[in-house]
Symmetry: C2
Subunit: 313 residues, 2 copies
């Protein structure tokens, strides 16, 4: 069932002992540059370095007695893998993570640090799904999908809820969109907790499936995405797409250079580490795709897990 207002409040109460209430930063220079009042919600400072800890923690702590004995499982090469491992560790259960064998070492190390049990597979969706199926059959673990799950969506919604608690009169909130967990959660948060707060999403032009799906009204899968924003390469889900269609105001595209420039700007001016996926909303503003002049805009900086050996600058 689509999370209602109370479900999101409940999620917030449930996960609060395990996650950070992340700070909101502002920057005079970027405000001058854009003509808006921008408020950056710093999920790069979240546990495990990304908003993913919100949804994963909510899902893991919602498991019923008969579910959690055999642990949880997912396939992920990214932030959901680490977030689920940490959430499972906090609940004292096992997390089985299927990771492509070409996953970057920083992400592998993060999963290992949090006690996740890794099974490597080939770097394609078929192998990921087959391997996950085998792992689940062998262990009896419960699958926790990275975004196509209402428990996850309710958890991700708490970032927008917190942002609107701090700043109730935001004109808009801008989020990046990959699978749509954060975006659909943010849209629900704006609906329940905002005062006419519009939600807009930004997506890399190299992975434009959500943009195409949204503007055509028909699901378009992500095929051969090419973008540095590694968190935004996935397709929308059957649960996230309808929520986005109904509650999101617009989706816009940004260039790869725009992402790199925005990332550099945040690093240099805010002095914080954010990953490429996180800066896609700011890139959209800087490229003129979203007009924030005279507006108060919340921007969700989704994560900060960067491989320092492979920076784009």
């Amino acid at each position: 069932m689509i999370p209602d207002k109370q479900k999101i409040i409940d999620a917030s109460i449930r996960i609060n002992p395990y996650i950070n209430r992340t700070p909101v930063l502002t920057c005079n220079t970027i405000d001058k540059l854009t003509g808006g009042n921008l408020f950056f919600k710093c999920e790069n400072f979240q546990k495990a370095g990304a908003f993913k800890s919100r949804g994963a923690t909510n899902a893991v702590f919602l498991l019923q007695d008969n579910e959690f004995v055999n642990g949880v499982a997912t396939h992920s090469s990214g932030n959901h893998a680490a977030a689920l491992s940490l959430a499972a560790k906090r609940r004292g259960i096992k997390a089985h993570i299927v990771m492509p064998d070409n996953s970057n070492k920083v992400k592998i190390r993060a999963v290992e640090n949090y006690g996740g049990i890794i099974t490597f597979c080939e770097a394609n969706l078929q192998s990921r799904e087959d391997t996950l199926k085998n792992v689940i059959e062998a262990t009896g673990a419960t699958e926790i999908h990275p975004y196509n799950d209402y428990r996850i969506i309710a958890g991700q919604a708490t970032a927008g809820m917190e942002l609107l608690e701090d700043l109730p009169d935001l004109d808009l909130i801008i989020a990046p969109v990959g699978g749509g967990g954060l975006l659909s959660g943010t849209a629900l948060a704006a609906k329940y907790f905002g005062k006419k707060t519009k939600v807009i999403a930004a997506e890399p032009a190299g992975a434009p499936d959500a943009y195409k799906s949204f503007h055509s009204g028909t699901f378009v899968p992500s095929v051969s995405p090419e973008t540095i924003a590694d968190g935004l390469r996935t397709s929308l889900g059957s649960l996230t797409f309808p929520l986005i269609l109904e509650h999101v105001h617009d989706i816009v595209l940004v260039s790869e250079n725009g992402i790199i420039d925005a990332m550099r700007l945040i690093w240099e001016r805010l002095k914080i580490i954010v990953e490429p996926s996180a800066v896609v909303p700011l890139a959209a503003i800087l490229e003129g795709k979203i007009n924030v002049k005279g507006k108060k805009a919340g921007i969700i900086l989704s994560g900060g897990n960067v491989d320092l050996d492979n920076l784009p600058f």
Copy 2:
């Protein structure tokens, strides 16, 4: 006159409208690694990206009527140049900055952004001093030395004062040492506002002048310093050295690799941008030069102005 307790409180009140009260961050991972309770005072989030804004703002706002009409001047290739330019701009006066012609472009751009008037010189002390003398003769500006000035020292002391307001029972505070403005100010703050809080300094082994001066009791100048920590290459001053001798508990040395490893650790775990000079204290802990086991230690992360085109990793 050496700043007394009231002078530092006055400095704090004077500069508060113009500077940030910077946050104090903690990190479970680093605590586990070191066995201590570490509290990172984030001067990388300070105005102009470094603690230098504290001293520069205090000095500029202490100028008498007859002094400030012709503006202020200094020679600096680094953070003091930007901080002084910004402070002068805030008071509505000119800042004349003598910079070596090989200064990095990021620092030059920062000074220009804040309205500093740059005069380039050759990259040696003689040329810097001669050029500054000429600029002062031509403009009538008042020189504001980056560290050998009690107004500056009182301003820098406010970082330690804030840290002790937040955490009155720190066992120690660790600061980096270059010219000694931050270190002597921190030592005064610990003396006036701490409860038996010891102050220890860390210095790059490639620029060990403060270490040698402190342990021999005789001033040793910095000759051909070689370190990535570009803020720590200068010699102690005639005002800072006696304060350090009297009030600092110890000075230790760290390796270049230790600095780079500590910088990477902070970037990866705290998700914040700090410059090499800022992480020298953490490097000293990680290299076993300072024992923080079971102790509460404040660490001043002095700045975050990094040239992203020239990272050491």
